[in-house]
């Protein structure tokens, strides 16, 4: 009896799906790695979040232009400096047919706050959620939180009843040494439903015919297949076995552009690559200079900056796929000021003069730590920088290593000169300023300020930014922090990454700075 009802419902759903979209299409796409888990609170990783976004939805989301839009919440207002009230969208159903209510929001917020959740960066300052009635919730914060809405775009909603039934009230905990049900099964409210999943092979999503929103594209099935090898991934695109590749290798972009069957869409990524310098040790760890630290002298930092030709890096190493910069975050981030982002012109003569003034007319030796599988052309960039620094007599030993060894090393401050890239998922300057520029301290202050740059004025400005809710004042504070830091040459910004997506020419997509493909906007001819 029950089973037959399900079958009938399924038949109707399928009929609806095919009936409404006569030209419905399958999108087959690929990138290097696989989705790690289906659990929406277990892995805060780019690809994982991209796929989660199709199955699970947050209260508020980002539109095509990255502006905050309504999603599972239709309205919101601050009822006190520390409480925001959300009205939920009525008549939303989970994929298993159960209704979405305030209980599910309270549960999901608690779940994302759990110690095993990987989403703590998005939960900073959030203390909990309270049900007012079935369609109203209040989310409370420790203090005034100007970036609450951007944070909530990454907090996806699960069903409390489903989680209880399958015993997945907490995100996966590696201590328990067992697999959780939520890692391979999913039940969200989003436009697509998980149909099948084979790790490292294939994940299939099909259109949710009961979705509350309106599909702008014509895709009714998504097939994701990771292909690790660059050459094979491109071959699959060229032979038409996949329609879309998220991460085509940069060196192949010029050739792909010449192929009439292939389309390349480029856009700014919300990620900035820069060099950091040890400015706190009294003697550098990996250098020939003994008894003092040359990077404590601003003239040396400036000389390094003047020696590096950012435009040459762009044309020679990045093949045009970068936007040289003088600031620490990308133009999409709130608080960005074009006036500050004037690229420093290379000036070798002046760099040499500064080195001589600082007492290093013959230069010195230093080690540059560099990842080799994290950012676009990371190792090649470091090689080019080493060659440029050699021209002001700084002999660079390059220490390139895979990310799994690189990050633990530099996070222990075990470096004299390093390269790092920083993305800003909240699209708000505080995220970058607090992590990179603030003096190392508690609660995320300076947690990636690995050269320990420190300026009390910058700290004061960032601390003010943490609680300031007025947008104009925030922009002014951001500008102030950045200008002081720029004058200090606290870091050496290199460029904002540009990310190309490659697809068959019949596919149209919306390119977003967070490198996320949203299939609800994809059209296939």
């Amino acid at each position: 009896m029950h089973a037959s009802t399900v079958v009938r419902a399924a038949t109707v759903a399928v009929a609806l799906a095919f009936g409404t979209a006569a030209d419905a299409k399958t999108l087959r796409w690929s990138s290097q790695g696989d989705i790690l888990t289906m659990d929406p609170h277990a892995q805060n990783e780019g690809l994982n979040n991209t796929v989660s976004d199709h199955i699970y939805e947050p209260l508020v989301t980002r539109g095509k232009d990255l502006k905050i839009e309504a999603c599972l919440a239709t309205q919101w207002k601050a009822i006190s400096p520390t409480t925001m009230q959300f009205k939920l969208r009525p008549n939303v159903k989970f994929h298993d047919g159960s209704p979405f209510t305030a209980d599910d929001v309270v549960f999901s917020v608690e779940r994302a706050l759990a110690p095993t959740s990987n989403f703590s960066p998005y939960m900073q300052g959030i203390t909990g959620a309270k049900k007012v009635d079935d369609m109203t919730v209040e989310i409370s914060t420790k203090g005034p939180n100007p970036v609450l809405l951007p944070q909530l775009t990454e907090v996806r909603m699960m069903s409390r009843a489903w989680a209880n039934k399958h015993n997945v009230q907490r995100p996966q905990d590696f201590k328990n040494k067992e697999e959780t049900f939520a890692a391979r099964n999913a039940n969200g409210t989003g436009p697509f439903v998980l149909k099948s999943r084979e790790a490292d092979v294939k994940t299939v999503l099909v259109l949710n015919s009961n979705w509350w929103g309106k599909l702008e594209g014509n895709v009714n099935e998504i097939v994701y297949q990771p292909i690790k090898q660059d050459g094979t991934r491109l071959a699959a695109l060229l032979s038409g076995e996949v329609d879309f590749v998220l991460d085509p290798p940069p060196q192949d972009i010029p050739r792909l552009k010449k192929d009439a069957k292939i389309k390349v869409v480029e856009g700014n990524e919300n990620r900035t690559i820069f060099l950091g310098l040890d400015q706190w040790r009294d003697e550098l760890l990996y250098s020939t200079v003994k008894g003092k630290n040359p990077f404590k002298d601003k003239r040396v930092r400036e000389a390094f900056q003047l020696a590096i030709d950012l435009n040459a890096l762009k044309t020679q190493v990045m093949r045009g796929l970068s936007n040289p910069t003088a600031v620490m975050f990308a133009p999409q981030v709130a608080g960005y000021d074009k006036a500050l982002d004037t690229v420093v012109k290379p000036d070798r003569a002046r760099a040499k003069k500064l080195m001589a003034e600082a007492g290093y007319p013959k230069g010195f030796e230093i080690t540059l730590d560099c990842p080799n599988n994290r950012y676009i052309n990371d190792e090649k960039l470091c090689q080019a920088i080493a060659a440029m620094l050699a021209q002001i007599d700084v002999k660079v030993r390059l220490n390139a290593m895979p990310r799994a060894t690189y990050f633990p090393k530099i996070q222990k401050f075990d470096t004299s000169l390093y390269m790092l890239g920083w993305g800003v998922p909240t699209f708000d300057s505080l995220y970058a300023l607090q992590s990179l520029l603030h003096t190392v301290g508690q609660g995320g202050d300076g947690n990636f300020n690995l050269g320990k740059y420190s300026n009390a004025k910058v700290d004061a400005t960032i601390d003010a930014l943490k609680t300031e809710t007025d947008l104009k004042k925030r922009a002014a504070l951001t500008r102030e922090a950045l200008s002081i830091h720029k004058a200090d040459v606290g870091h050496i910004p290199l460029h904002h990454q540009v990310i190309p997506w490659a697809m068959r020419s019949g596919v149209s997509v919306v390119h977003r700075a967070d490198n996320r493909l949203s299939v609800k906007w994809v059209k296939i001819n």
Binding site: G33, D34, L36, T37, A42, N44, N118, F119, S120, P121, Q124, Q172, D173, F174, K175, K177, E178, E179, T180, A183, E198, A199, D200, V201, K202, Q225, P226, I227, K228, Q229, G231, T232, R233, A235, A236, L238, S239, G240, E241, N373, P402, R403, A404, T405, Y406, F407, P408, Q411, S435, G444, N447, F448
Partner: protein, 328 residues
């Protein structure tokens, strides 16, 4: 006989321990999985807590002993990347690797032996020279390059065969097989050629040189003198006697095919154990790497043991050695 097997088994255990030890020592250099498992914003305290949870804070020898203790019971822990038991992952991936290895080995034998016989019998034919020259490619080109070439030709230019994956698979009693669907069989072609080409050329050259040697022996001359047909001489007498070394080499190469499937699997995104291993390396997924290396070590140990035992039956001298070991 029993003493011989026991001695071999003990040696096998020793080899396994050494493999496990070396594998474990290597992990100190692959990096810290904790940095990949926690968000960048995690504090030092968070990292330390995670390290303790995973047991990574304990001294090396304690970790190693725990690992061996659990491994003996078939428990290799949980994958840090996929959050699933490692043993389940390996069992899931094994059919893909074994099917690929099986097809590659069959290909090497079924093509390699006839080619070897032909080139051995017709030393100076231009076709023989062609095969020999072509076999140099199989010996000298690296596997990934052959794979990329095949993909370029047959998937991109001609569009005949898929460039990656296993096609549609079916479950037959817990074993996922690609033998039962057209797309599964088509998907097998390029990777199995890539994987088997080296073995194919090796077997061809081996059979050829053995044939040349055997054809010069007296019993072949006598067989001809008896007026036996060419066919009976070449296949009934000559080929049969060349096969003993071929069987030995094939047995040993089977282990190599399974172990070195890593490269082929990576090039063709073939979802086998090798691909699992490569991905584990990038993620510093220690439990998967350890289990895989031990498994490969185990396969080699077993194959060697079987080959040794076959020798024991085939070669009577070994049996005499065993009983009169003191005589040396």
């Amino acid at each position: 006989m029993i003493a011989f097997v026991i001695r071999r088994l003990l040696q096998g255990v020793l080899v396994m321990l050494v493999v496990g030890f070396i594998a474990f020592s290597l992990f100190n250099f692959v990096g810290d999985p904790v940095s990949l498992m926690l968000p960048p914003e995690a504090t030092q305290a968070d990292r330390q807590a995670m390290r303790e949870n995973l047991g990574l804070d304990r001294p090396f020898y304690v970790q190693f002993a725990t690992f061996i203790g659990n491994a003996v019971q078939g428990n290799f822990g949980i994958s840090l990347r996929l959050g699933r038991p490692v043993s389940a992952l390996l069992v899931e991936r094994m059919p893909a690797t074994l099917e690929l290895a099986f097809v590659a080995a069959s290909l090497a034998l079924l093509v390699g032996i006839p080619l070897g016989v032909y080139t051995g019998l017709n030393r100076n034919a231009w076709l023989s020279r062609f095969f020999l020259a072509a076999s140099l490619i199989g010996v000298s080109l690296p596997t990934f390059l052959i794979g990329i070439f095949l993909i370029l030709i047959f998937a991109v230019w001609l569009g005949w065969l898929p460039s990656f994956g296993r096609g549609d698979t079916m479950m037959v009693g817990g074993w996922s097989t690609g033998f039962l669907s057209t797309s599964g069989l088509r998907a097998l072609i390029l990777p199995s050629i890539t994987l088997g080409l080296f073995q194919l050329t090796l077997i061809m050259r081996l059979v050829r040189s053995e044939m040349l040697e055997v054809l010069r022996t007296d019993y072949i001359k006598f067989a001809r003198a008896r007026g036996l047909t060419n066919r009976a001489v070449n296949f009934g007498h000559a080929l049969k006697n060349t096969l003993v070394p071929v069987i030995t080499i094939t047995g040993l190469q089977l282990g190599a095919i399974i172990a070195f499937a890593i490269i082929t699997e990576t090039v063709f995104q073939w979802p086998g154990m090798g691909l699992l291993f490569i991905q584990a390396v990038q993620f510093a997924d220690i439990p998967v790497m350890a289990a895989y290396l031990c498994l490969i070590g185990f396969i080699f140990v077993v194959i060697n043991l079987v080959v040794d035992m076959l020798y024991y039956f085939v070669d009577p001298r070994l049996r005499i050695d065993g009983t009169a070991a003191g005589g040396h």
